[in-house]
């Protein structure tokens, strides 16, 4: 049984109704998408800004109501349950560690909330549990009575992780958990995350725009473009031998020591408009391999090689 199973999950944001005439169809932030994550696996999710990563993540934890599709966690379907029901199964670690902590509450109050509200734990148990969690994320207990502004970014992010752990979830969604951190601290937090996963048997969804980071931490990677998965496959293979032209563009654009600077893409290429999506493949405007077929029919995710799926009419060969 997979830890997380998502089917045809979609989100369309309604637009403001104009003064006259019918409401426009809305912005398709996430187009119907399906995938699964096995227990103990880390699924990396990469894509450019605005491609729907955060919208997907917020739906998965119940902060945003999907417009369609289902979410199943360990076989349990979560319809339109409230974040409190989701909270026990799946938790979220935010990109900006400072802004995810209430400036006027102590760390102890922050840590107690999930224990009290989600698990109804009595005070002595809570203290014990907080001590355990703090030990596991290498934070000192004396931090508990301080306020968020007294912490560095790396410490604040560890507190964010500790809070997510306090709910004893099965899955943690990590939305750019290290991009606000310094490089030397980034590595500390990434290593901590991998320790915790092994220790508590967690499953991760790791959202980022940094390909090198996602490759270093994930088993599988899903590439999002324009609200849809365009390719999904083993982390070590997907950037080395991409099948989808967009994945290949991403991999070629990533700055790498020892590779000379080349613009992998012509200047004139156009980006799709979310309010007025193109009929066929959303990437066609930027794709060198695009044909009439691509502009007419949207490609579906198809098996291409072992454990790799891509949505492309003319995939790259290797």
């Amino acid at each position: 049984m997979p830890a997380l199973k998502v089917e045809h999950l979609a989100k369309t944001f309604p637009l403001k109704r104009p003064l006259f005439g019918a409401a426009p169809p809305g912005a398709h932030a996430v187009r119907p998408m399906s995938f699964q994550v096995e227990t103990g696996e880390t699924l990396g999710i990469v894509g450019e800004s605005g491609c729907g990563k955060s919208t997907l993540a917020r739906m998965l934890v119940g902060l945003l109501e999907p417009t369609g599709g289902t979410i199943e966690i360990e076989g349990k379907a979560l319809g339109s349950a409230s974040p409190a029901v989701f909270g026990k199964l799946i938790q979220y670690v935010f990109q900006d560690p400072q802004s995810s902590l209430n400036p006027r509450r102590t760390i102890r109050q922050v840590m107690e909330a999930p224990l009290k509200r989600l698990h109804g734990m009595p005070k002595p148990d809570r203290d014990k549990r907080i001590a355990e969690i703090f030990a596991s994320v290498n934070l000192r207990e004396e931090f508990l009575d301080r306020y968020p502004h007294e912490f560095s970014g790396g410490q604040a992010q560890r507190i964010g992780i500790a809070r997510a752990l306090a709910a004893s979830p099965r899955i943690i969604v990590l939305d750019e958990p290290v991009s606000a951190l310094d490089v030397s601290v980034q590595a500390q937090v990434l290593n901590l995350l991998s320790d915790l996963k092994a220790r508590f048997g967690l499953t991760y969804l790791f959202i980022t725009h940094d390909l090198a980071v996602v490759e270093a931490v994930s088993e599988r990677v899903a590439v999002l473009y324009f609200g849809a998965i365009v390719e999904i496959g083993r982390a070590e293979r997907i950037f080395a031998s991409p099948r989808h032209p967009y994945t290949s563009l991403l991999a070629k654009s990533a700055p790498v020591v020892g590779r000379s600077l080349t613009a992998p893409e012509q200047k004139g290429s156009e980006l799709p408009d979310p309010l007025n999506p193109p009929p066929g493949c959303a990437f066609a405007g930027r794709c060198r391999r695009a044909t009439e077929l691509c502009r007419a029919r949207e490609p579906e995710l198809k098996q291409m090689g072992e454990n790799q799926l891509a949505a492309c009419h003319h995939p790259l060969e290797h």
Binding site: R58, G87, N102, R105, S152, H209, P255, P264, E265
Partner: protein, 621 residues
């Protein structure tokens, strides 16, 4: 708290206001205990006694009632009503504001429309209408004044709440299982409370005045009960013949409103976070210069930073943000400055054109030479001429360069026309071309967007277009692509690279991404705790790092194609800049540290091409 009081008392007027209102409050509270005449006893024989008559300190009014007694009782009542009205308005208004701001959407729309409608009426008319509907009386006046002030609170508090409700800690609270009521009470309220207090302290004075106004018109307190407004109203007919009867309550109203408003303004200023840092004065146009020692001689570089020192004085602490940094670029050269946040990269960059905020910042040593001419301490006009035209900046946060209220096209043409003689339409053409250059899709249409209508990545590209607008000789780019997507980043790096090859643009590129410097830069300087610890050609520094910090920093960063792996972290944190250890600043985190590393100053040494600040470099450079 004590910091707050210190700030408050630095403001003389506020302190004075506090003193006056404290005395008045004390008197009002003590009124029932004082040996006063009964305020309502009529003695027509004693009418209109002058102040300082026997037994009547302030004289009597037209019915022979003791004015001092009426004044104190009236003050007591006016204060009570005003404060009660302020409390009621604050509670109801804030509740409306918080609910509208938190739930947003339709709730917000409906509620705020109603509030707007209330606000559309002239203030006093609305109050009059309410009293007219409810009938005269002090209680009804109180209700009217409170009602009239509710929209003010609702608007203010809604604004703050909308900002807070979008913050991630609210989402986190929902995921922790908290319900809406609990979130509003325990997460939002503590954050908006200071704003409510400020709004109250700045409005309670006006509310007292408004209540007095209604009483003056006979709609508030009813005879014989005295409040300041009704005292003034009753004294109206005798204003010419017996002026003291109106002067006494008038003066009291003046004192109350004046002192409360002075105090309220003081409270608002003291709580303003911008003033918290200790800077009560306006920031200066250029960075303060307090240079000690000789200035280094000129070189033939295009832009040279020489032994630059920049410090921040915050309270008693002195943060040495830049502690003797030397950098130089020649035309067409690009230099990468790498370091973690707080290592002084940005302050170095900002010091070049005197853009470090002063106070608290000051340049305390060294020189910055553009074509040999020292820019530090140069007059503001000279710097302004060079800013943008010769030396341009690109910042990480594009909102720092873009004005939110003007279209990006307007801002670009403005920039172009401030340094060059072009017609409006020519400048617009150039603006569109610049937007095309930085790969903004649909530039012809986007040129008329406001900054907030663009995505972060697009705003950053506009920021780069602004920097390129006047074809500067040097671009100082402070993490310009950190917030961008890799495909856009690749485009921008190529654009910068083309410019330096074609036009001889010199680039100082600040980043923490080794991949980016490796691709764009000829040379690299690595900074740690305000100093350069290693400098040399890109290949040499990245291929064979000599400083232990450089080597371990490179090891921290995952590289594409390396596969799944454990990363090599550097334990510990960079040192605090106001308490730097003697000797090597990296020593507390360095595995190779010896006693000698902690002793004295370690120079940046080695062949000029690849210098390192370490006693035991990784490999002879």
């Amino acid at each position: 708290m004590s910091a707050f009081l210190a700030l408050l008392f630095r403001n003389r007027l506020a302190a004075m206001g506090l003193a006056v209102i404290a005395v008045i409050l004390l008197l009002a509270m003590a009124t029932p205990l004082l040996p006063l005449h009964d305020p309502d006893v009529i003695a027509t024989a004693d009418r209109f006694m002058r102040p300082l008559s026997e037994g009547r300190l302030l004289g009597t009014d037209h019915l022979g009632r003791d004015l001092l007694s009426r004044l104190l009782h009236g003050t007591r009542l006016s204060l009570a009503v005003g404060i009660a009205a302020a409390l009621i308005a604050a509670v109801i208004g804030s509740a409306i504001g918080i609910v509208a701001g938190y739930f947003g959407g339709r709730t917000d729309n409906v509620v705020m429309r109603g509030v707007d409608m209330l606000m559309a009426f002239p203030y006093i008319l609305l109050a009059l209408a309410i009293v007219a509907a409810l009938g005269p009386g002090l209680m009804n006046a109180l209700i009217a004044v409170a009602a009239v002030n509710v929209p003010f609170f609702a608007r203010n508090i809604r604004g703050i709440t909308v900002g807070l409700a979008g913050r991630e800690f609210i989402d986190a609270a929902r995921l922790a299982g908290m319900g809406h009521t609990r979130i509003i009470l325990t997460e939002l309220l503590p954050n908006v409370l200071p704003v409510i207090v400020i709004a109250m302290s700045t409005t309670v004075g006006w509310m007292i005045l408004e209540t007095a106004g209604l009483s003056f018109l006979g709609l508030g307190s009813q005879p014989p009960q005295a409040d300041l407004g009704s005292m003034l109203g009753e004294a109206r007919s005798a204003m010419i013949s017996h002026p003291h009867t109106s002067i006494v309550p008038g003066l009291m109203i003046f004192l109350i409103v004046m002192s409360i408003n002075l105090l309220g303004d003081g409270v608002r200023d003291a709580l303003d976070p911008r003033l918290r840092s200790g800077a009560l004065s306006r920031p200066r146009a250029t960075t303060l210069v307090r240079r000690q020692g000789a200035t280094p001689p000129a070189t033939d570089d295009l832009l040279a930073v020489q032994d630059l020192r920049t410090e921040f004085q915050v309270g008693k602490r002195n943060y040495r943000a830049v502690g003797g940094v030397s950098l130089a670029v020649k035309p067409g050269e690009s230099l990468g400055v790498i370091g973690e946040s707080g290592s002084g990269k940005s302050v170095t960059a900002l010091s070049v054109m005197g853009l470090v905020a002063s106070p608290p910042g000051a340049i305390t040593g060294g020189a910055v030479r553009f074509q040999g001419e020292d820019l530090i301490g140069a007059p503001y006009e000279a710097l302004r001429q060079k800013r943008g035209d010769r030396v341009a900046y690109v910042f990480q946060d594009p909102l720092a360069t873009l004005h939110p209220l003007y279209r990006v096209g307007q801002q670009l043409t403005e920039t172009i026309r401030s340094h060059r003689n072009l017609s409006k339409s020519e400048a617009r053409m150039r603006a569109i071309q610049l937007l095309n250059d930085v790969r903004i899709p649909n530039a012809e249409r986007r040129v008329d967007d406001y900054p907030h209508e663009m995505s972060g990545g697009m705003r950053q590209r506009v920021g780069i277009a602004m920097a390129l607008a006047n074809e500067p000789d040097v671009i100082i780019a402070d993490e310009p692509t950190t917030a961008l997507d890799v495909t856009v980043q690749a485009q921008i790096l190529c654009l910068l690279d083309d410019l330096r090859r074609e036009r001889g643009l010199a680039i100082i590129f600040i980043t923490h991404d080794f991949g980016v410097v490796a691709q764009l830069c000829d040379r690299i300087a690595v900074m740690y705790a305000g100093r350069i610890v290693e400098e040399g050609p890109t290949q040499a520094v990245l291929g064979a790092p000599a400083h232990p910090y450089t080597r371990r920093l490179i090891a921290c960063v995952p590289e594409l194609g390396g596969g799944r792996r454990e990363l090599a972290a550097i334990p510990g944190l960079p040192p605090v800049l106001d308490d730097l250890p003697p000797g090597c600043a990296f020593a507390p985190r360095c595995t190779k540290a010896e006693e000698s590393c902690r002793q004295g100053e370690i120079p940046l040494q080695g062949p000029a091409l690849h210098a390192v600040r370490c006693l035991f470099p990784e490999r002879a450079p």
